[in-house]
Amino acid sequence: MVCDSCHERDAIVNLTSIENNVVRQLHLCEQCAAERGVETSVATPKHPLGQFLEAVQQQTVPASVEAGKCSFCGHTMKDFRETGRMGCARCYVSFEMSMRELLRRVHGAPRHIGRTYHAPREEVFEKAGALGELREKLRRAIEQEQFETAAELRDRIRVLE
């Protein structure tokens, strides 16, 4: 359907208006709708954060400083610019300078003041992680009717429990 106002672009908004007790249905494109004060879901550029970061880095970080890779996942700032996503938690430390500035600009504040968190002691989650993994293997072994493996896995789970 073509926009009732400009007769050029595709209409994506149905606007119902009442003027002098007359109801009018208008089919408008995004631009003409915006001119009438109706905002539609904003079409965002593909990875706006990446572009944002680029601008931040040009101003604050010498090009050489954070050119490297994240020591944990190998993500680079180029990856971030392309995807708008970080690769892992360690990325925030690997690219700390840029991230601090980016977060300050995105959120208007640089520091977390919400709920604080302390991770559980290592042995608690190591055991939980190992148990979870073993149970998953057990499930698959049973599915594939590998009963010897399954029995072995069951014993290992019992020991851990």
Partner: protein, 361 residues
């Protein structure tokens, strides 16, 4: 693996039962927390094996959690596309987790834990997306239920956390609290009186944002808006909730005022228009999704204004979910073409309204 949503009360759509506060205007409240399991790359970057290990670890922790009683897991990565689409249409998983987006193909290890009103998506953009869905305007209750899940799970699984930046997430826009609190609100009065532009602009000044029915990137249809906090860092969860509660309260007042103005200044026109919407839904033989949403919006408004009586808001809310393409295909037991879907939608809506038609007046 097959999907059995009958394990959930009302098939997982109880958040639409119109039992909460202001449910004639606010359909539902949703709060979500984004968390990542420490020691793995984020889900988008991780290898298949890493995601499966995350799943195993979280699964182990969730199996014995009092905060999520009677929950069950659905391996989204093992479901056919039609069932993944149904989960998405019920708002139980995101489009990304369901693997319905071309740029985000289905990930191995994608799963969701479901219980009444609470869910945990695993291997979405973040390892964990926990959410609480409640009927009506119930932000505090929704957050309180979710906070329990967060604390119990965080005591069993180590989350990625940075003393300065807070909870770390794949997208920097979620860093800090990782919290997005939103209400799904129906604002036909503000749209009809053309006040909506100003109201939405005002929201942005308060640090809030709006989206369509399906969250990020979705279009506004049927005058349904999702209002939520824009930022997640530098403010506490309570502060973010307080702002949202205050602003949404104000938006509800403005909507109610707009409805009063409409009735006062254009009473018979509105009444005629809304009954015509009802008439179309009752008798149309083919309805597109957008048409159905727009007419349902009109009928919802008529029920709110008491111009139409005897029709339950829950029935109307359920139509929003069950008249979607994947649900209609499932009900017919085969994949429908677009025109068949429109016929099936009209048939479904007619039947649902017919059941209550005796009381309508």
């Amino acid at each position: 693996m097959t999907l059995d949503l009958s394990l959930l009360p009302d098939g997982g759509v109880r958040w639409l039962d119109a039992s909460g506060q202001h449910s004639d205007v606010v359909l539902s409240t949703r709060v979500r927390l984004a968390r990542n399991v420490d020691g793995y790359a984020f889900a988008g970057r991780a290898r298949d094996g890493e995601r499966l290990r995350v799943l195993a670890q979280v699964r182990e922790a969730l199996q014995r959690m009092p905060a999520m009683p009677e929950s069950f897991m659905v391996r989204v990565d093992e479901l056919p596309a039609a069932e993944r689409a149904m989960l998405f249409e019920r708002h139980l998983v995101s489009r990304e987790l369901a693997g319905l987006e071309a740029q985000h193909p289905l990930r191995s290890g994608a799963a969701v834990y479901l219980s009444d009103g609470l869910s945990v998506m695993i291997n979405e953009e973040d390892h964990l997306r926990m959410q609480s869905l409640q009927s009506g305007f119930e932000l505090r209750a929704a957050y309180a239920a979710l906070d329990r899940v967060d604390r119990e799970l965080g005591a069993r699984v180590p989350f990625s956390y940075h003393s300065e930046f807070g909870f770390l997430t794949a997208c920097p826009t979620n860093v800090g609290t990782g919290m997005r609190a939103s209400v799904l609100i129906h604002l036909p009065g503000l749209v009809l009186t053309k006040e909506i532009g100003r109201v939405l602009a005002g929201l942005q000044q308060m640090g809030l944002t709006y989206r369509g029915l399906y969250g990020e990137g979705s279009e506004v249809v049927g005058n349904f808006f999702q209002l939520s906090n824009q930022t997640t860092l530098g403010r506490s969860e309570e502060d973010l909730l307080d702002t949202l509660i205050r602003v949404v309260g104000h938006v509800i007042d403005r909507e109610e005022e707009a409805r009063r103005v409409l009735l006062r200044d254009a009473g018979y026109i509105i009444e005629d228009k809304l009954w015509r919407a009802y008439g179309t839904l009752r008798y149309a033989r083919s309805l597109t999704f957008d048409e159905a949403m727009n007419y349902l919006s009109g009928v919802r408004l008529a029920v709110g204004l008491k111009l139409i009586r005897g029709l339950s808001v829950y029935t109307l809310n359920k139509l929003l979910i069950f008249s979607q393409a994947a649900h209609l295909s499932a009900a017919e037991g085969r994949t429908l073409t677009e025109s068949e879907t429109n016929l099936a939608r009209a048939r479904y809506v007619r039947k649902a309204l017919e059941e209550e038609a005796g009381a309508v007046g």
